[in-house]
Point group: C2
Chain length 445, copies 2
């Protein structure tokens, strides 16, 4: 259960080895540590001094250009001019809260809600995905009068006190609280595709019984609809259906955390839950929503929101500002005008095929999963096929030396997490495939 932290640590700069740092970097790292102390987490054995980014590329202080397969916040592309211009223009005009009427936020809400099933017709704006999940938990508890949540083993849903409790991957050295039941993700590696759905449904049912039996009561199942932190599980499409039916039969709610899969990343739909033919009771949004402008949201049915608001005063100062609306509208516009869902589907399929071909050649490559521009690739020990997180760490650092940015995920920490900006091209895919091929060969010597 605590493996996720190990992989983060592995891909993390180790301050106790800073003697080996280049001089410029060393000074930077010292300044960082002086101000941010223990909260500073840097990527890579040699951290990167990043100064610029555009499209799918980032540039360091030395002028090196990196192809970005890590950052899913700048989802329509780093520094996208349409988003930048919309935000910059609105900043000169008005940036205030939602207690005044404003055409911008009203139009954005309508446009965003149009991408959801009809019954999900209300939106609450927040500033982050964490705030969205924090609010979603309370809306669910208010509706069900129960406290208990079911989450997956390596899930991460955010950083507030309440949300960290339902994020097993954020809890170091301690077990989840009694109102949280942790179950296996629907891991397609562990069973046949048919059984993965069934296995998940059975785990959910057992957890519901436990929560109801213990007096905590079953409130909701919350999942990232592509199980990003658990290792990226997307197939077979529809595998969530029987579990969600069970949840709703048990008078619980289904919360789809779309912070990572949402806004078209899966290529086949705007929202990850759509791939499974289910309708959540609550959906939470974050990361790509403003392409880096801090914004998140909760989408739900009006009656759920009504009950919560009668019990608790909720207001989020910065959320839903005309500037957030401008950022959000620009993101929706670019997604549409540049055909980024189609691009995610086309380039994602091309990239996945390229990775399948690589698997044929490399005994280091294990299972490959995912859809659109969200792909997980397991790195394994060729001797016995077991997860090799150490090799994943070496590969991530080797790819960085070859100007590719990428990270890892999954319960075992051996899954390369491939989630570039959605403007990623086939040419970019070729660059990555070649670099990965080299990194695997290099580290295998």
């Amino acid at each position: 259960m605590y493996k996720k932290m190990e992989i983060l640590a592995m891909n993390r700069f180790d301050p106790y080895q800073s003697a080996a740092l280049e001089p410029g970097v060393s000074q930077h790292v010292a300044r960082r540590a002086a101000s941010f102390g223990a909260s500073s987490v840097l990527f890579y054995a040699q951290p990167i001094d990043m100064v610029r980014a555009h499209g799918a590329y980032m540039f360091d202080a030395g002028g090196r250009r990196y192809l970005d397969l890590y950052n899913n916040v700048a989802s329509v592309g780093h520094s996208h001019p349409v988003v930048v211009e919309a935000v910059s223009r609105q900043l000169t005009v008005l940036n205030t809260h939602t207690r005044y009427l404003n055409e911008g936020i009203e139009a954005y809400a309508e446009e965003l809600l149009n991408t959801f099933p009809d019954q999900l017709s209300n939106l609450v704006m927040t500033c982050t995905g964490s705030e969205a999940n924090d609010l979603a938990l309370r809306i669910a508890q208010s509706k069900t009068n129960a406290k208990g949540f079911i989450v997956t083993r390596a899930a991460y849903h955010g950083n507030t006190a309440a949300v960290a409790e339902i994020s097993p991957s954020a809890l170091r050295h301690r077990a989840p609280a009694s109102h949280v039941k942790v179950i296996d993700a629907p891991d397609s590696r562990l069973a046949s595709n048919r059984n993965c759905a069934l296995h998940f449904e059975r785990s959910v049912s057992a957890a519901i019984e436990e929560l109801n039996g213990s007096g905590v009561g079953f409130c909701a199942l919350i999942v990232d609809s592509i199980f990003s932190s658990d290792g990226i599980f997307s197939d077979p499409a529809g595998f969530l259906q029987i579990a969600v039916q069970k949840v709703q039969q048990a008078n619980g709610l289904f919360i789809a955390d779309e912070v990572q899969p949402g806004f078209g990343r899966t290529g086949d739909a705007m929202w990850g839950f759509m791939r499974h033919g289910v309708i959540p009771d609550i959906v939470t949004l974050g990361k790509p929503m403003g392409n880096g402008f801090p914004m998140g949201g909760v989408v739900t049915r009006p009656e759920l929101l009504q009950k919560f608001c009668e019990e608790t005063g909720y207001f989020d100062t910065f959320a839903g500002s005309p500037v957030a609306a401008a950022a959000g509208s620009a993101v929706l516009k670019v997604l549409k005008e540049e055909g980024l869902l189609e691009n995610a589907a086309t380039v994602g399929t091309y990239l996945k095929q390229g990775l399948m071909d690589l698997k044929e050649r490399s005994p280091r490559v294990g299972d490959i999963r995912g859809v659109g521009l969200f792909i997980g690739l397991d790195l394994i020990d060729p001797a016995n096929g077991s997860p090799d997180p150490n090799f994943a760490g070496l590969t991530i650092n080797a790819l960085k030396e070859n100007c590719i940015l990428i990270g890892a995920a999954g319960s075992f920490g051996h899954t390369l997490k491939i989630r570039p900006p959605l403007c990623f091209s086939k040419e970019d895919a070729n660059v990555f495939l070649e670099a990965l091929d080299m990194a695997l060969a290099l580290n295998d010597r």
Copy 2:
């Protein structure tokens, strides 16, 4: 204890009276309700369709210009060109997370930390004041191995699940949880100035004993250092000292919530706690930090942060981005270059004197408190001097008709909360004083 909500309701648009709305506004309100449902809260009997703002002024769709004495987020002035330009420029260059090195965020952290006492040398960036307080509570609990917090009766510290629990003014229809002890704010109206400090210290001591006695354990006293929601209590300077001493003697922590008083609003110092000659263990920042760009922060001692980070993985995706750094640096620059602390002190003193003069003429004006550009003015029933929240609501709506934006606060909901952008001028003060004089006379007929 629940009066705060009543005053919000009073200054709030009532959707059940929408028949009286002007046609354009009515359509807006209907759209707002359709998308935001029960979460939509609008100010005023006739909500304002706001389209533009600059400096201390905001403009509605009909071209009316309002003088703003309400909004403390756009603290250096709405749409300030220096902040807008800094954010816009950085957006075209790089907007990413803190796991890469970046000169911008490192320089900002140093500049910000320089405004704090030496021992408060670490910063964690967040996206909101709520996230900052949510994190501060956990840092404090980690340090003390205790759970219990002491808060003031009408306090508001933010909107996450954990922070709402320590915000009595956000809890509708229910008492605080057992780990939260609610005490009276140091209300200078209730006792002599000397006794207000002593009374507060005694309340804190009693609450510490209760928490330790109940097994919850005393963790921290958290206060907004100018008691914004409680009714604005600033004097006598130093009144927090003996209570903070008691807290620290009891091995608890003192958390100063600077979300409202911070960044120079009190005119006499950058931070509200400085007025009282105390050094907090943890300081939280928010609202004015980016002049509307969503950002917050926690400032504390390295050893406190160290302990928390060993126990819990903490990362905030959008927080500490180069764009947040640009916004924050621009705010610090403008505060300095435009002498806004000095302006807050000078204009604040002038305004307070004007209000004192008004009190001489109007039996409706009760106690006047505050410092710099954060002033509370009680509106009372002339017959018996008792709080008159209904009259406050009438006055707020009357001032709005006269193009002045203002709100109310305090346990009794009868305190006009005067906190304009810090670029507020003596001329602006004169406009407000005249309008208030008229509103008081008008509503008194």
